[in-house]
Amino acid sequence: MNNIINIETLIFTASIGLVVIGIYLVIAEKNLIKIIIGLNLADSGVNIFIVFSGYIKNKTAPIFSKGSLGFENMVDPLPQALVLTAIVIGFGVTALSLAIAIRLYKHYGTLDISKIRGLKW
């Protein structure tokens, strides 16, 4: 049992779970704010997944400060640098979509996408 439930499986399950919840919210919800929350959740799940892909068991953060254990005992720094980019772009997407939601609310008086003309599916 200990071999099946380890930290890798837990983090992997959490990241995929977040992505799944986010995609479900985007597909099934009708409120624009909830759709944006779903996008954000999926974004966080993907970020956790990318950081996890560089994770190595029992190794430390890639910082060569005093008392660091040397480069043999560090996790892969490349996914973390990529995630820094992904977080910033996720923030930009969220802010822009919130601005669009505010404009839609100003124009139509509702955030329900089934009541907004041209957004039905």
Binding site: T9, D76, P79, A81, G92, L98, A99, R103
Partner: protein, 237 residues
């Protein structure tokens, strides 16, 4: 019907991820992972002089990518400004903020500003850097904007600061073209004493430029989003 389609889709996605991808990503022995990260860890201290390997990747190895990232952030702030400036605006009657909230936010703001500057200045030594520090400073602006409607918001001033910060990033990159290495964003300055604040060549300078740019950009974006809450700025004045 939408919910049914959604459930079928996400079950398919989750099944795919757990059966095929999990076998690739979760190895039986994770110490055998090999990637370009090993080479970067071996050489980053000698090549860049920064203690934080993630920072040396973000600013120097992938510096051009970071320039693009800053551009994406600028485009989103520009989009928000374009969307929120024109058109009719809300006329909401909002309650006055309580005295404790107002005073607390004004007391908190200088400390958040200082903490943001600390995070930006130590980007090459500790986790952090221009992006998180800039977001912390912008959060300070955000709290003040949330709690007081009398905050005079000068976004032309922020735009000028932002433009100069972005320009200094590009100029720092172009100076590298005139050094013996002849490449964009090369670390041409003296690397200094390892593991001190004034070390690692141009990394702290670039992170300072990024921090100033991100903080002013996000403060402007947040201010533009708040225009709708209190009506247009011209109507307030």
């Amino acid at each position: 019907m939408r919910k049914l389609i959604g459930l079928i889709l996400i079950f398919g996605f989750a099944f795919y991820m757990f059966t095929i991808v999990a076998a690739i990503v979760i190895p039986s022995d994770s110490s055998e992972k090999k990637s370009v990260g090993i080479d970067i860890l071996q050489n980053s201290v000698r090549q860049t002089g920064a203690a934080n390997a993630v920072t040396s990747i973000v600013v120097l190895y992938r510096g051009f990518d970071t320039l693009g990232e800053v551009t994406v952030l600028f485009l989103s702030a520009l989009g928000i400004a374009l969307l929120m400036k024109g058109g009719r605006s809300f006329k909401h009657k909002t309650e006055d903020e309580s005295f404790i909230l107002k005073t607390g936010s004004h007391l908190l703001f200088p400390f958040m500003f200082l903490f943001g500057i600390y995070i930006i200045a130590h980007g090459h030594l500790t986790p952090g850097g221009g992006f998180p520090g800039g977001v912390i400073i912008a959060t300070g602006f955000f709290i003040v904007l949330m709690t007081s409607d009398v905050f005079k918001f000068r976004d032309y001033f922020l735009t000028i600061i932002e433009g100069f910060a972005g320009l200094s990033f590009i100029v720092l990159g172009i100076v590298g073209l005139f050094t013996p290495e002849k490449s964009f964003l090369v670390n041409f300055m003296n690397k200094g004493v390892f593991n001190t604040v004034f070390s690692a060549g141009i990394i702290p300078l670039i992170y300072a430029a990024i921090g100033i740019k991100v903080s002013s950009e996000l403060s402007g974006a947040v201010g533009n989003l708040f225009v709708s809450k209190y009506g247009r700025r011209s109507e307030n004045e």
